[in-house]
């Protein structure tokens, strides 16, 4: 008899679906089947049971081959690397839970590290735009219950957030939206004819890199002012029509993705999209939500926020927190050669960073704390495989709308495997020993007794 675990959260995308059901083997070690998840999320669970997983740390040898080492040796190497470093980068965090992130930050305070998360190559420009002009937003349940105009701009949830449309934004019947998708106008803006675009009531296939112009044109059209005949390749009649639909909705929302954050204009595109949203609040109710990628990249920004006040690119190398995107962001640090060690946690810069940055990681003392072999583990000096968060260990994660959800442990990790929280805690304690300090954040025994 297989057991079923319900209300499981999915450790894939920022939609952080928490309604999965997973059947597991009697001994609680293997995932057998996954229900309610999309194809990607489902694979992530099933992969945990694959036989080719690396279950012990591996150190790179001089000939380029890897040799298995113990976790003790891995803790020692990592602690020594960070303790000796003058300016280590501690990058990633977006697939780790908030508890592990928090321990990482303690380490960064002790060793003077720079904590940066995957937003740096994803929604970092959105975070900068929010610092410029704010953000009128809402939770995903508000979309489900109220929204009758839904815009996807530079994103393709049909592939990147597969259940977004059915669970939150287009199809669900909510409290004031009993007609489901029939009561919603779906607007998609993208240079490509994506599968999301094919579903749209209004599809605006704009010229690539012209998002800022089209957003500005919408602001003009919303105010009823004159437009040139075409903007960004879109005829002005279509723009006026779209503006009318947006103004006449009862509750509208703009979802936007990396098509606008990482293309020409970057944070300025988002500035303008937010101002469109703000303008629309003069006429009706409108919100805007970033389609965050990793399932807990939002959580990393939150923990960094309450501990240091900045959502990413937080430089603790002087002991106090500094933030200056362009200076304290990972790729800028790597490409300027400012770093002397790299710790990667729960992410894969080897796949997503420019080759010049990847080469720099490969040149430096480096540790990758990631569950599986990936391009980053293959260029690091030490690969520390850990239990997969939200499958083999639980912890707090934040959805794309900042809603915190506690993920569940579904199965046991392979025997003897540590979680990233356990591994990082041991590294922190070892660094404190090396530096001869009391553990930060906890009073010493003498202090606790009031001595």
């Amino acid at each position: 008899m297989a057991k079923t675990v319900t209300d499981v959260s999915c450790p894939f995308c920022g939609a952080l679906c928490d309604d999965l059901e997973v059947t597991i083997s009697d001994d609680g070690t293997k995932v057998l089947e996954v229900f309610n998840a999309c194809a990607v999320g489902s694979q992530k669970f099933l992969h945990s049971a694959s036989s080719d997983r690396v279950t012990r740390p591996r150190m790179r040898q001089e000939d380029g081959s890897y040799k298995e080492v113990t976790y003790d040796e891995a803790v020692e190497y990592t602690a020594q690397m960070l303790a000796k470093a003058k300016k280590p980068l501690m990058y990633g965090w977006s697939n780790a839970n908030c508890e592990a992130q928090s321990v990482g930050h303690e380490i960064a305070e002790i060793v003077g590290g720079i904590v940066d998360n995957t937003a740096t190559v994803c929604h970092g420009p959105s975070l900068i735009a929010i610092q410029d002009v704010g953000i009128p937003s809402c939770t995903l349940g508000e979309i489900k219950n109220r929204a009758d105009v839904v815009i996807f701009w530079g994103c393709n949830p049909a592939h990147a957030h597969p259940r977004h449309l059915s669970k939150y934004s287009i199809f669900p019947r909510g409290f004031f939206t009993g007609k489901g998708h029939k009561g919603r106008k779906m607007i998609v803006v993208d240079p490509r004819n994506t599968d999301t675009m094919k579903m749209a009531d209004i599809g605006l296939q704009l010229e690539q890199g012209r998002d800022y112009e089209l957003l500005s044109a919408l602001r003009v059209a919303i105010r009823g002012e004159e437009l040139p005949d075409t903007v960004a390749g879109i005829p002005k009649e279509r723009i006026y029509e779209t503006a009318e639909v947006m103004k006449n909705g009862r509750f509208g929302v703009i979802f936007f993705g990396m098509g606008v954050t990482q293309s020409l204009g970057k944070n300025h595109n988002i500035d303008n999209a937010i101002m469109v949203t703000k303008d629309l609040n003069e006429y009706t109710k409108f919100a805007i939500i970033a389609m965050r990628g990793h399932y807990n990249v939002t959580g990393s920004g939150q923990v960094l926020g309450w501990q240091y006040g900045f959502p990413f690119a937080t430089d603790l190398s002087r002991g106090f927190a500094r933030y200056n995107p362009g200076e304290t962001t990972s790729n800028d640090l790597l490409r300027r050669g400012e770093l002397d060690a790299v710790l990667v946690v729960a992410s894969d810069p080897g796949s997503h960073f420019p080759i010049s940055s990847v080469k720099e990681i490969a040149r430096l003392p480096s540790v990758a704390i990631v569950p599986d072999i990936n391009p980053t583990s293959e260029i690091s000096q030490l690969h520390v495989p850990v239990a997969i968060n939200a499958i083999e260990t639980g912890g707090c994660c934040y959805r794309m709308d900042n809603v915190p959800i506690e993920t569940r442990k579904v199965v046991e990790p392979p025997e003897g495997m540590l979680t990233d929280l356990e591994f990082l805690s041991r590294v922190r304690d070892r660094i404190n020993e090396i530096k001869g300090k009391a553990r930060i954040g906890v009073p010493t025994a003498a202090q606790a007794q009031g001595a």
Binding site: G134, T139, G141, W306, G309, P404, V442
Partner: protein
């Protein structure tokens, strides 16, 4: 455990009625005791002032909107970031300090308890993660109920027991402390971009009025016998002429009597009344109505208030009053953040500069002080800044200076750019009262502790109470300048929190033994409410019911649960 003796200080303690007598305070095993052994560590408080740890009744210090404020205002960290030393954490931020700085800064001023003023239940986990990371001070959080769909539906049908059962369920699910109401009905209306500006404006679709919501929640609160009363931020905040709405809201409280075992006497706590005491009908003839407001408050013992003092700083406003923040961004054109929370509430954030050169800001400053100076019962009027809305909590020492010194406030009042207009629109110039140390102890310690239902634990120095003891370096019997008041209250000579010295000579020395307060209300099983909860989660929430409750283990490592039981 350790013993301490705080020797020979001038003690001000409303709980024991001590008004500046020289006394010793003994501490053993985390409690105040009558006496200690000769091995106790002695702190000499000769020539200094001794009080209990202060109690913050209303501040926005943890949670999603506070953190959005931090993350979207990097400028708030300019020139104030500090490295951690001696086992302490890195700190930073001015109007919205990081969690570490929040704990340390409260402790340095002698505060040992704080109540987070507005917790969106869906984000309760986030609030508790921040509370956990705020060192030293004990904290609780008030979940918001005034725009919650369950509450609106039950109260529309006058279902008192269901309302109470739902409150009990949500307090447990969110690990919350009491019933907070923000712009009742108005924030739900904001879901459609609308608002409720009076107590009789019907809520769209739900067809219930703010008056019904307020009265229903007072009744449910007393039915449960919760330690704290219904805690309200009324409709129509911040608008000229809104004092009539405030008085209308006060009157909804008439006819209720407190029912609880905690010694709490009020049935309504109205917060940041400064923002609700405005006369005039536009910004030109904007004026203080603190007199009318305080006449009412003084005459009604079942009402407590806090002030919401404007501190004349650049700060970050944030409230669950979503429509107000939209209104504010239209006024000052600074960056606006907003979050509407499904079925429950909303929140908005806008930075604000309270400039002494702007007439309205100066009038707001005066109103906040007038409220405290016109209060005849300091046990029912508490000092707050509605942190960070009217100013950061780190300005409490300055507010205490203004309240204790006519000279200090006259110096400020008469040097405003529009001093003449400000004086003619307010009453402050004609008020000579200077609050005493004893009255300050009532307004910042014994009063708020009693209003929170915690009078036997916090805010006093009677044997058996928690050992939260503070020494301030000021001699009440020797002459002192106004600035010495501010200096003394800014950096306590000694702070003992639950029996552990955490601050010495103004410096934090220990991360303390922080606890999280929450109220565990037991009610008879209510199948109707459980069915409604299941249905709403199935149909309308975006998270699963089984993933909603905040589990204690990780989020609340050191709980202080207060039980109430109405199962008979």
């Amino acid at each position: 455990m350790a013993e301490y003796l705080i020797r020979n200080g001038f003690v001000f303690d409303p709980v024991t009625g001590v008004k500046g007598d020289r006394k010793d305070i003994a501490v053993k095993d985390g409690k105040i005791v009558d006496s200690v052994s000769s091995s106790a560590k002695v702190y000499d408080a000769s020539g200094k002032t001794v009080m209990a740890g202060a109690v913050e009744i209303h501040a926005h210090v943890a949670g999603p909107k506070v953190n959005e404020g931090r993350n979207y205002r990097p400028e708030d960290k300019l020139f104030n970031a500090r490295a951690g030393t001696n086992g302490l954490r890195t700190t930073g931020g001015f109007s919205i300090p990081t969690t570490f700085k929040t704990g340390y800064a409260y402790a340095q001023m002698g505060y040992t308890v704080a109540m987070e003023a507005a917790m969106p239940p869906l984000y309760a986990r986030h609030v508790h993660e921040e509370i956990r990371d705020t060192p030293i001070i004990d904290e609780g959080a008030l979940p918001v109920f005034g725009n919650n769909w369950f509450v609106l539906e039950y109260l529309k049908n006058n279902e008192l027991e269901n309302t109470a059962a739902y409150i009990a369920w949500l307090l447990r699910a969110s690990k919350g402390y009491g019933v907070k109401v923000v712009n009742p009905g108005g924030t739900e209306a904001w879901g459609w971009g609308l608002n409720c500006l009076s107590v009789n404006d019907p809520v769209p679709y739900f067809d219930i009025t703010p008056a019904q919501i307020v009265k229903g929640l007072i009744e449910a609160n007393e039915y449960l016998g919760l330690p704290h009363s219904m805690h309200i931020h009324a409709n129509n905040l911040g608008n000229p002429g809104n004092y009539t709405t405030t008085l209308d809201t006060f009157r909804l409280n008439e006819g209720f009597a407190a029912n609880n075992r905690f010694g709490r006497e009020q049935t309504m706590h109205h917060t940041h009344v400064q923002f609700h005491s405005y006369g005039g009908d536009n910004w030109g003839n904007f004026e203080s109505k603190s007199d009318a407001i305080m006449d009412y408050v003084n005459a009604h013992p079942t009402l407590t208030i806090d002030t919401g003092n404007v501190t004349l700083d650049e700060t970050t406003t944030m409230t669950a009053d979503g429509p107000f923040e939209h209104h504010l961004t239209e006024l000052n054109h600074l960056k606006w953040a907003n979050v509407d929370v499904e079925l429950e509430t909303a929140a908005g954030i806008v930075p604000y500069v309270y400039s002494p050169d702007i007439k309205v800001c100066a009038i707001q400053w005066a109103i906040g002080l007038e409220l405290a100076l016109l209060a005849t019962d300091p046990m029912r009027c508490f000092i707050t800044t509605d942190h960070p809305n009217a100013g950061p909590f780190t300005r409490y020492p300055r507010i205490i200076k203004w309240l204790m010194s006519k000279d200090a406030r006259e110096e400020r009042l008469t040097t405003f750019k529009h001093a003449d207009k400000v004086i003619s629109a307010t009453h402050l110039h004609g008020i000579d009262r200077e609050l005493t140390f004893y009255e300050i102890a009532q307004m910042t310690r014994a009063g708020p502790a009693k209003a929170l239902g915690l009078k036997d634990v916090y805010g006093g120095l009677a044997p058996g109470m928690d050992a939260d003891v503070v020494i301030y370096d000021i001699n009440p019997e020797a002459p002192f300048t106004p600035d010495q008041i501010e200096q003394a209250f800014s950096a306590a000579t000694l702070v003992i929190k639950t029996g552990v010295p955490v601050v010495e000579n103004g410096t934090v020395i220990n991360n303390g033994n922080k606890r999280t307060l929450w109220v565990d209300a037991k009610v008879n099983e209510n199948p109707q409410v459980l069915r409604d909860v299941e249905e709403k989660f199935l149909k309308y929430y975006s998270v699963s019911l089984n993933n909603y409750e905040v589990q204690g283990h990780h989020y609340i490592p050191n709980p202080y649960a207060i039980e109430v039981d109405v199962t008979q």
